[in-house]
Amino acid sequence: MSETLLRFVVVPVAQIAVVIAALLLIVVYLVLLERKINAFMQVRLGPRRVGWHGLLQTVADVIKLFTKEDITPRHVDRLVFLLAPVVIILPALAAFAVIPFSGGSFRVGSVGVRAWISDVNVGLLYLLAITSLGVFGVVMAGWSSNSKYPMLGGLRSAAQMVSYEVPLGLSVVSILMLAGTASLVGIVQAQESAGRWFLFWTPYPQILGLFLYFVSGVAETNRLPFDLPEAENELVAGFHTEYSGMKFAFFFLAEYINMVLVGCLVAVLFFGGWLPVTFGIPGLREPLSNFFPFWGGAGAMLTGFFWFGLKVFLVLFLYLWMRATYPRYRYDQLMRLGWKVFIPLGLGHVMVTALAILVRRG
């Protein structure tokens, strides 16, 4: 096997396959986790029938969805209707191309393998660009269904996603300024060399940035309390009312993949990605960075997965917690919040961060 083939074809394809497979598995259990956590918060038991404590419930659900009759209503715009689920899931998956899941590396033959598919120098911008495309899937689904509730859902979501992209971008801008690079690997490395996460950056901790990013992220992924495009109590099921079976499963999948994506980004941007949780104690850093020293780079990578996964899980837990706690905003209130509160806050946040950088430089 030639090295070029290995470097440019085999390894990337293997990485992509691993990421997609892992994502699907995570989503399956994220759904179960959501049901279990919500059940716990609501004094219920949640699914218990399929598998031990319902562990196979989502698997059963997926099988059900994929074997269901695939209905395409007669009045829809066929091409767009069929494309919409694809359009919504592709950006969600493509975004993971630049996420660094862990540090460390190991070698396969002469080729070093890292825990990310690619490290591009415009990584953050790429992410913003690619996630902004997900809205087309929603709009296409809403429009092509040729039905009123999906239409309203599509309109809502177009407005919502466009509005919340701005504060999302603004909170990212300050991270960009702090790291001095738009590469996600570079951002984690900047936090590593600074010795602290950007969340605790001195003199101006990025707490506001995290808040803005997370809330906008929730709004972008259409989850409670911002799940207006599919608010089941008003719009039945919003933009995917007319979808069933596998096509519906795609929407569902995309929503959860996007949740995981927001979790990953929060971890990378604010929580130092794969860096260990050291509580600021310098001595802990070395032992916590690699649980398996005898495996060298691969051990460090595994350890990084653990820390990264932990952080992502925390963010996802917050998601689920919010769902169990909050009522839903109204459409106009959501827009007002975005434009009149979050965007000014985001602008101010960028200014203050810039000032803080100047102060730090002296």
């Binding site: 919500n38 918060m41 609501q42 004094v43 219920r44 009123k148 509730y149 309203l152 809502r156 409670l224 309390p225 799940d227 207006l228 608010a231 089941e232 109590n233 008003e234 719009l235 039945v236 769902r323 169990a324 706690t325 909050y326 009522p327 839903r328 905003y329 109204r330 459409y331 106009d332 209130q333």
Partner: protein, 365 residues
């Protein structure tokens, strides 16, 4: 250049949050409501016609099926109306038992309202919590009359059974638990910013207009009119019991929410008092086996959980009512919906339906 057209949209009769088979024809400008036309009758079963065909005692069963979330209140008002027609006195013990059950029923009904209303606005957890407490009440009813939803637990002239052994203690235990659970709901909703944003200033109706529409119950009291049949024209043992009638000020969804929440507390107070005062003695008055009231008519009202429950009976001296008419508070309150949502957004329609607390079985009869 470009004109926009109003959008006609059908909400229901199959829709997750129209609380049954209510259908609304909405006319929208964007998402703003221009006009609403409620269409009802999808659950019309002709309870009034059935009430004219069956004997007075048999017809109680049909009252269960009207407001199935508060069947006891419907049983009670019908039985009382027949008692009025007959001129029968109900023994004090039965009166107190009725009060206990009626107030428990009110709590159960308000819990359903709370759960579904909160769920319509997106708060999922409150729904499950509300069901948890309601379950307690359903268990109490089950151990009293064997049914959990359609009780048929009142007889003309009194009550069918004594409270079973240990029932009173169980009811007291429920009353002990309830306040802490109520605090839980308040913590989840009352000061929640999103809840406030979704309910304050939504579906506002002032007291005068509400009366003009004939609204009663918490919907009227939320607008600041202190009209409660239990106080205004006391029936059963309510005159001897001490309780407050909470009223709102603004007449919006939030005030109605607070009113009902306080009513749950007051109902608990009534239940405890009635259990303390529960007299001994008979539970059935002197009612002939064949109920044949003299010619005449009666319009009798009760304070149901959703408003003034009325029964109009015309007797021609036979065993059947000549005319049996049920005044449904939901039917009347629902009329005001178009008024309350005009100019609001689609999401508010759902909130207002929730705050009106309609049960379609009672609207359509």
């Amino acid at each position: 250049m470009f004109g926009t057209t109003e959008m006609q949209i059908n909400m229901g009769p199959q829709h997750p949050s129209t609380h049954g088979v209510l259908r609304l024809e909405l006319k929208l400008d964007g998402e703003r409501i221009v006009d609403t036309r409620p269409v009802i009758g999808y659950l019309h079963r002709g309870c009034e016609k059935l009430g004219e065909d069956r004997t007075y005692a048999q017809a109680i069963v049909y009252t269960d099926r009207m407001d199935y979330c508060a069947a006891f209140a419907e049983n009670l008002v019908y039985a009382e109306a027949v008692e009025r027609l007959l001129g029968v006195e109900v023994p004090p013990r039965a009166q107190y038992m009725r009060v206990v059950l009626a107030e428990l029923q009110r709590i159960a009904s308000h819990l359903i309202w709370l759960g579904t209303h909160a769920m319509d606005i997106g708060a999922l957890t409150v729904f499950v919590y509300g069901m948890r407490e309601r379950e307690f009440i359903l268990d109490l009813f089950e151990s009293y009359c064997g049914a959990r939803l359609t009780y048929n637990a009142v007889r003309v002239g009194g009550m069918p059974e004594e409270f079973p052994e240990g029932w009173v203690e169980e009811a007291r235990r429920f009353c002990d638990v309830l306040p802490s659970r109520l605090d839980e709901y308040h913590q989840l909703l009352t000061a929640n910013r999103i809840w406030l944003a979704r309910t304050r200033g939504v579906g506002t109706i002032d007291g005068k207009t509400a009366l003009d529409w004939g609204m009663t119950g918490p919907c009227l009291r939320g607008s600041g009119v202190a009209y409660d049949v239990r106080k205004a024209i006391p029936y059963e043992a309510y005159a001897d019991l001490d309780f407050d009638v909470p009223i709102g000020e603004a007449g919006d969804t939030y005030d109605r929410y607070l009113c009902r929440m306080e009513e749950i507390r007051q109902s608990r107070r009534i239940v405890l008092q009635a259990l303390d005062k529960l007299p001994g003695g008979e539970i059935r008055g002197k009612v002939p086996r064949r109920i044949k009231p003299p010619k005449g008519e009666v319009y009798h009202v009760n304070e149901g959980p959703r408003g003034e429950l009325g029964v109009y009976l015309v007797s021609d001296g036979s065993e059947h009512a000549y005319r049996c008419r049920f005044r449904s508070p939901n039917f009347v309150n629902l009329q005001a919906l178009p008024d309350m949502v005009r100019g609001h957004l689609v999401a508010d329609v759902v909130a207002v339906i929730g705050t009106l607390d309609i049960v379609l079985g009672c609207v359509d009869r």
